[in-house]
Symmetry: C2
């Protein structure tokens, strides 16, 4: 099956300490070797983004996947920095900025809290979708297509107190990666 | 009038290049000299947050103001980093983390795009309130009270092409600061 060019941006600030995000990326690397995976924490531990290099990666991509753990109901600071620096006026937006036009954006994210907490009645007071307008508005301004998300909750640091629990987090993370690949295959043919 | 202890965290990544946020902070400094103003871009140009120092500032405060320009419909990366690092499990949240309990959180932010664009029918497709669930959920998790926001739109970099336009941005920014002080006085007595 011919997939479009896929760029996966990992926004975790410390992948070495991660289970879920690390497992998702490893699974994607095995199952989707043609995708380009960018690990921001390896490239930019000092938060100094190489704007030109990152813009070139975006230009090559048909589908852009943002892979991140949700920190304080938002993307990690490092991913925000990547976006602030790379999505520049005249490149991604503004009257002459149309370099991302027509590209598809997919979110792939995890939360420490279980999915059930994300509801009006739950501990968070909001559904997970209510935290996504910023990405959808970004797509709108940059003329990208918001092409959905894959989400896994309940993969917290605090819940890794035994080898069994770590294995369980790895297992749901592998399934997450397979769900993401399924979505990518579907939108590759639209 | 006795105001409670107010901590103002400036999240702009480059205040020297700012008009609106700089003017707001200067006005607050003049009119509200008892408030503690923290400029993250001066303290942490390398994004390396002094967690202990920042937690001490939070402990002293009754009211915490986050002052920032909206970048990509979110807080700037530097403010996100401050929050990721400072709001730690066992300090701000978790079964033994109640150090922010009862404190009030106020948002004070600006957007480059005019306020009218922030509507369901407008260019952004969302109201400004639809971008705020992350702050409200943060308050909920940290047992803080979300105490409202002061907002000014239309203060973009692109719209500073003449001395008159810069003066206009300064003027709305001063008014913004006065509206913020009014809100702070009101919630100081609740």
């Amino acid at each position: 099956m011919n997939m479009k060019n896929i760029l996966i941006i990992s926004g975790h600030t410390d992948l070495a300490a991660s289970v879920a995000n690390k497992t998702i990326l490893e699974t994607l690397n095995e199952r989707l070797p043609e995708a380009e995976i960018v690990k921001l924490d390896e490239l930019y531990p000092d938060f100094k983004i190489d704007v030109e290099a990152e813009q070139q990666k975006l230009l090559r991509a048909d589908i852009i996947v943002l892979q991140f753990p949700v920190f304080w109901y938002s993307a990690p600071s490092l991913l925000e920095r990547w976006m602030e620096e790379t999505f520049r006026h005249g490149f991604s937006h503004g009257s002459t900025g149309d370099k991302l036009k027509g590209k598809k954006l997919v979110l792939s994210f995890t939360t420490g809290a279980p999915e059930a907490m994300y509801s009006r009645e739950g501990a968070m007071g909001y559904t997970i979708d209510e935290f996504l307008p910023c990405y959808k508005a970004t797509c709108r301004l940059c003329q990208m297509e918001f092409s959905g998300y894959v989400y896994t909750g309940g993969v917290s640091y605090g819940n890794r107190t035994s080898p069994e629990l770590i294995e369980q987090q790895k297992s749901v993370s592998e399934k997450h990666a397979l769900r993401l690949i399924e979505l990518l295959e579907k939108i590759s043919h639209r």
